[in-house]
Amino acid sequence: MSISTSAAAAAQMSLPVEPDAGSRRLNTAKALQEAIGSQMEKDPSVFVMGEDVAAYGGIFSSTTGLLERFGPERIIDTPISETAFIGLGIGAAVEGMRPIVELMFVDFFGVCMDQIYNHMAKIHYESGGNVRVPMVLMTAVGGGYSDGAQHSQTLWGTFAHLPGMKVVVPSNPYDAKGLMTAAIQSDDPVVYMFHKGVMGLAWMAKNKRSIGAVPEEDYVVPIGKAKVVREGTDVSIVTLSLSVHHSLDVAEKLEEEGINVEVLDLRSLVPLDREAVIATAAKTGRVIVVDEDYQSFGLSGEIAATITEHDPALLKHFSRVCVPDVPIPYAHELEYAVLPTAARIEAAVRKAATA
């Protein structure tokens, strides 16, 4: 066990923070792969481990091409033993390595959560700061393609509720690269949740923003900083991940009708950028949380609490477009009845605007 002297932290300092995007366009998966590849080149202590991350390149293409570049010693397929290999990552991190461990679907957290929340997330605290766990736990989230109740969840509320791990959730290629770079360089454990629907996969419905401009150089998107991705004055949508895109689509549409929607992309859940949440609430007074996680006891409530404990008078309207508290149904018609679709968001904005 060693406290990694912060060569990494120093390196992070020197990286540009949110530089101009430039003109080179990548999809989110490629941006993510690029961040991992670049950090692996600079730091031999970084490695990737998980099910089907090597020859397959990750079921959702998070690691495509890395085996070819870095070989099987650093891009490592595992048995289906999530507790063992996530715990292995923790032990390696404790000894100063910087593992990136993939949990194939976040839905599988239940077979390995003890390692994640009782170990990865608590060791630094329990050790009184003597032992660091600089590990990235990368996982695919989200539904919308009829994968059923055990393969379609986002569950970020579950992770964000439990202390000691940072939680980041990129919605686009630029943030995906910058947040992954920040996550690898962080001396804290970071849970990195990418939505399958923002990756730009060839075999899944793509939204137009899953390809975007990404700088070639390394840079960081700071963990814990939300971003106003669209300024507006009438209604605020606080959201993240794939729902950012649906929200932007709705905002563009309603603009034509003179409803001016602000969209806040949280990007990180832990730490949560409470200032940004309060700022947008203060601006519009009408807040809608759009969240692909289960509605109750999660993110949407946290946003309400953040605003009301600051100043309940800020709010003229609060509502939520989330997955109601139901397992994600398989049939397309049912699934799209519970997902936070553009139609549901639009209806909520119209209602908020007149509230």
Binding site: E51, A55, I80, S146, Q150, H151, W203, D325, Y330, A331
Partner: protein, 340 residues
């Protein structure tokens, strides 16, 4: 206690052997129909969320010998739990094909009224269930066996999973608990060499899971060659043991994943890909029965036609059935009361 059983059981009648083949043909016919329907409307390109059957699709072609050989011993009151790759077992266990197809097509007529989908089949009539989480199907079998044991019935429970699942913690916990409490359970490992793209040699520290049985004090057997009659023989012994109250057994069967892990899997990781079709167990068993003089062209034609009729009926019924009412998406969360 670990032995290799590859010998063909001597005591199968011609009718039994024909029935094994018939089951295998029925399963393959079903899977071929799902394959066709699944891909029918995903193009241009391939969009997993599109079409009459959206979502991940794990088909069981090549693994029919396991289902046929196993289920020949099971009664409707016996329980069977399976995995993300469940169709062959569901069919051999006797699940209503219309209900199965309806669920795969996500229709209100489906087994779970379209709520579950192809990885989440729960059938009270056949005590069949499955789970999309690797190795997490094992424990249900313990509970079903426990209930049967406490009720004093002769029923047993069978838990089937892949060789990849045998490296997950629940495998170990369940084998220990079943052996400790002498539960009437049979653990069946379908070794199809692959856990998605990871070969068993890259996942499993021993050449056969059968050797692991000794660590629980239960019999462990490996069946080679994807041989339906050898499966039948091995399971037969385990069933006798379980029904007699002598506790669980572990059987690993070397089988074949004829197609990709899921549909859309190009299998670039699979070096032996070109030869895979040669190992198809159905033509091989047909030949075996022909050679033994107990299968004629007419028999085969009849079986094929019968299977086609069954499957066509199920698929047509599913396609004609209504899709679930979106307004009822929240129905069935709880038995009692509205959800919060």
């Amino acid at each position: 206690m670990t032995t290799e059983t590859t010998e063909v059981a001597k005591d199968l009648s011609a009718a039994q052997r024909q029935e094994l083949l018939r089951q295998m043909i029925l399963i393959r016919t079903f899977e071929a129909a799902i394959l066709r329907e699944y891909h029918a409307d995903k193009s241009p390109g391939f969009d997993i969320g599109k079409g009459l059957i959206p979502g991940e699709m794990h088909l069981s072609a090549g693994q029919e010998p396991v289902a046929a050989g196993l289920c020949a011993h099971l009664e409707s009151g016996d329980a069977l739990t399976a995995t993300h790759r469940p169709h062959h077992l569901a069919i051999a266990k006797g699940m209503n094909l219309r209900a199965l197809a309806g669920e795969i097509f996500g229709r209100e007529s489906g087994l779970g009224h379209g709520r579950g989908g192809h990885m989440h089949l729960f059938d009270p009539a056949t005590h069949f269930s499955c789970s999309g989480i690797v190795a997490e199907g094992f424990p249900a079998a313990l509970g079903q066996a426990f209930a049967f044991q406490r009720a004093g019935t002769r029923n047993i429970a069978v838990a089937v999973a892949g060789e990849g699942a045998a490296n997950a913690g629940p495998f170990h916990e369940c084998l220990n608990l079943a052996a400790l409490w002498k539960l009437p359970v049979i653990f069946v490992i379908e070794d199809n060499d692959w856990g998605i793209s990871v070969h068993r040699s890259a996942s499993t520290s021993v050449p056969s899971n059968a050797v692991r049985a000794a660590g629980y004090g239960m019999p462990g057997v490996r069946v080679e060659n994807n041989d339906v009659e050898a499966v039948h023989a091995a399971v037969g012994e385990a069933v006798v043991r379980a029904r007699a109250g002598n506790g669980p057994s572990l059987i690993e069967i070397h089988t074949l994943r004829l197609w990709g892990h899921f549909e859309g899997d190009a299998q670039g990781y699979r070096p032996e890909l070109a030869e895979v079709p040669d190992r198809d167990p159905i033509p091989a068993y047909e030949k075996q029965l022909r050679d033994a003089g107990i299968l004629t062209d007419a028999d085969l034609a009849e079986m094929t036609a019968w299977a086609g009729t069954q499957v066509d009926d199920a698929v047509e019924h599913a396609k004609a059935a209504p899709t679930p009412n979106p307004a009822e998406a929240l129905k069935y969360v709880f038995v009692e009361g509205a959800q919060s």
